[in-house]
Symmetry: C2
Subunit: 512 residues, 2 copies
């Protein structure tokens, strides 16, 4: 059926969608969320929206995405019902618990990226993966398909290293240290990172307090050529773009079945040959027990092997935040101070040096941990960070005091003497987010005490920073109810009481 | 955040959606498919779309649905991030295999109907129901919640009867006979029916060849008051509207986990007290074996008991089409001819009289089958149908020859002598749909032979009718490949051969 094109000027978040008048849709034989084949100079499959008013009979409204796929908007389009994509049958097979074959997974991932699968169908696939599980063959196919359906960085170095944390621990600014340490020692580390989705800060948010991170693939390559490393936001690079689409579904359902392919496809797409993965472990982290973490590590390493990447895992202590600060600016400042040897943050330094050290040893160096320490001590890591900042277009002379921190504060004080027994990571994240993080970069939480520290009555356990008083006051209301820390004697056995009708709380960190 | 309202004139298929500029969305802290709370005279939750061009910073674009929810478009709206709805936690629980409680199911269904759950979340729920299954407690809660979140008919009669087929067999025009038979005997039968989704004709499509079926709830009530019965399209009545939303997801995934609540909620919403459910059984139907059908019947009857409806089930032969015709007009014509005692279609008459007879016996009459036969024979069923046609605004004098049938035909002839051994229902449906059904009402298939009939070489097995030659010719191309019938000796054992790379075909009928 020939229809006249109306350019609607509507963006649909990357998916090719079109609007049909109800009566034309009936004639074509298609319903809302169905698929049509659009034919002009080329053929495009698009998802149908039905309208009785916006689009007149005989017309078709096209989104910006469809306009761009055609180059310029055609005047007329031939519109026909599109056959059900084969990938739907494969999704259905997974629903029934069947193991998917490599080419079947590729079809599904292609359908996700090119928009022939609609949101419901993608959600159903993700749900089926969560419930039915996926084995390492499927995870391998998913990783490879996610790489194939996106762009790749194509650096030509023989050894390219990378690190990644599966996430879940607040305040984890380790990457801001590891990249300059490793790059200063001459290794190539093209680090992409994400922004916060459910957390108080992603590495991209932290790095953005020091330098621009929205680089193009070309700018990223230039930075790496100049400095050996970079810390950029991965979202605009179209590396494994399927992942970004899967995450949207996973986020609202707080499920994460694609954890392994997601991580490994991003590493493969930058061409990594040696990878160290950090698995924070503990009650407040994504992985709760060491046993569970060991199983995950085994799978990650085998998946790495199949994707031709040497992979090591480190299990790290995840029961409390890393360092003292949570929130983009506060964390950037803490990392910078450590690299400048101006602050002593033992757990952060230890974690960064262990990870950098593991990378050194994987690539043939000895005494990696000591070597990493030495790179910080000597100031070479700081110098390298400043080179990277300059190459990414930031101010290489930036000082910790130049990083603006929210000046509205409230403090949580100890009500009694004792030890700091535990910190509830999820509550700390919620407090930082209520205070404005990650959107307000200067918002967050600074701890005065960490687990095991002696606490006297009225000692400051942590200080909340906000940029806006409105956000600070809503944080204030929340503070008591969240029960973020426990102070007491080692013999205090009750954490909290569950009352008659338990209110179940969302507690999930998607970042990886 | 206060934003200026732009009315976009876009319809979003019933869901309240809004468009935000990317930078405002970031400030509010919400992403695409997230939820915001809109506040003017009243509060509405809407789903977020992100745009960088359509909507300027400081503005909010609203869909027709949102405009209507506010009555008229407010000039300004207060826009805030909305907390995750509680229902998401309950969906998550189902994903984990937990049984849902009554109030949890109500929250989910409410979220489906009022638009606070987005398409991905609904798809995930439907998928989880499919994989995890639902027990009768959950089916009961789903049915009740689907009734509560919609309108109800509220007829005041003591006895209200209804019938329903779970579907899956082509040519099943039984309802067109049962309604007038039952109504002629003085029983109240407010029949709502659906249009075809994946089949060649829904009862609403068939009835529409005889009379208008797009009635409002008030018009429907008036018809029932005047004539005891009606046959209307249920889609515009907002009876159990959640079902229509669930069906959209189920359709593209070809799953049907909500079969029981879907059927029973629609019956409950019209106030039925006595219900007969038809379960077509056989290789070509939705339910393949008698054993399986018996289990389904047991569940349906128990669900009816819990919903306070007397429920009987009949298992009917589903291995071939009912009667000789498939397609809206052809079926309407066949039904009218039978009621006029002008055509003898034994299987159709038997099925209609058994179902009407079951309704008679459930409500205290005796010899229901004979009584139903007599109502047809005497012409009272025909007279009642004509009353209903008149009350619904049609021409009560309509004759079979007034119903237009597609005059473009091709015939499938027997290639050898033998018996008609089997008919592939799915292929017959596909042929009728290719020929134009259900959109082209005159398109369809007319059988000359049925299973068990003797066939001589060159006998016409069936004739395909189309309104448009283009559609006829595409049917022609398909005919041989589909292998729609088998003619042979009783000892021919091979149905078909699966070749090296099997092409799996979609074979699923959603109608119920």
């Amino acid at each position: 059926m020939q229809l006249t094109v109306d350019v609607l000027g509507i963006e649909s978040g990357g998916k090719p969608i079109i609007f049909l008048n109800k009566s034309d849709a009936d004639e074509i034989g298609v319903t809302a969320s169905g698929r049509v084949l659009l034919r002009a100079k080329k053929e495009i499959t698009a998802i149908v929206n039905i309208s009785t008013k916006t689009v007149k009979k005989g017309h078709i409204g096209i989104s910006e995405e469809v306009r761009q796929l055609f180059g310029s908007a055609p005047h007329k389009l031939d519109v026909e019902i599109s056959a059900f994509p084969k990938s739907l049958q494969f999704i259905r097979n997974k629903l029934e618990g069947k193991k998917l074959l490599d080419n079947e997974i590729y079809e599904i991932v292609k359908g996700v990226v090119d928009g022939t699968l609609n949101e419901s169908e993608i959600a159903s696939f993700v749900t089926a993966l969560h419930i039915r599980g996926l084995d390492l063959d499927e995870a391998t196919s998913l990783s490879q398909s996610m790489v194939k359906t996106g762009k790749q960085l194509n650096l030509r170095n023989k050894i390219i290293v990378d690190k990644h944390s599966i996430g879940g621990v607040p305040g984890d600014k380790t990457t801001l240290l590891v990249v300059p340490i490793v790059a200063a020692a001459g290794l190539i580390i093209p680090k992409t990172s994400s922004r916060a989705i459910t957390s108080a800060a992603g590495t991209a948010d932290r790095a953005e307090c020091l330098m621009p991170v929205n680089l193009s693939a070309d700018e990223m390559k230039q930075t790496v050529k100049k400095t050996n490393g970079c810390i950029v936001w991965g979202g605009a690079l179209e590396l494994a773009p399927a992942d970004d689409i899967f995450v949207r579904t996973e986020y609202s359902l707080y499920i994460d079945p694609l954890l392994l392919p997601s991580i490994m496809s991003k590493k493969k797409a930058v061409g990594a040959t040696h990878v160290v993965l950090d698995i924070p472990t503990g009650r407040g982290a994504k992985v709760k027990t060491i046993n569970e973490a060991d199983y995950l590590a085994k799978d990650l390493i085998e998946l790495g092997r199949r994707l031709k990447m040497h992979t090591h895992c480190v299990l790290s202590y995840g029961e409390q935040p890393v360092g003292y600060t949570i929130g983009p600016a506060l964390e950037a400042k803490e990392a910078l101070e450590v690299l400048m040897n101006e602050a002593n943050v033992p757990d952060l330094i230890d974690k960064a040096c262990k990870i950098a050290g593991a990378i050194f040893e994987m690539t043939g160096r000895k005494n990696g941990y000591a070597m990493a320490h030495e790179v910080i001590k000597s100031g070479r890591a700081e110098a390298k960070l400043r080179q990277i900042i300059a190459a990414q277009g930031g101010n290489p002379k930036i000082k910790p005091k130049n990083i603006p921190i929210g000046d509205q504060t409230i403090r949580l004080k100890a009500k009694s003497d004792g030890k700091l027994l535990w910190i509830n990571n999820a509550s700390v994240v919620e407090i930082a987010r209520m205070a404005g993080a990650p959107k307000d970069k200067g918002a967050g939480v600074v701890f005065g005490k960490k687990i095991g520290d002696n606490v006297s009555k009225d000692d400051v356990i942590f200080t909340v920073h906000a940029e806006k008083s409105r956000k600070l006051s809503r944080t204030h209301d929340l503070l008591e109810g969240l029960n973020p820390v426990g102070v007491g004697k080692r013999t205090d056995m009750i954490i909290h009481t569950v009352r008659e009708i338990p209110e179940l709380k969302r507690s999930f960190v998607l970042e990886r």
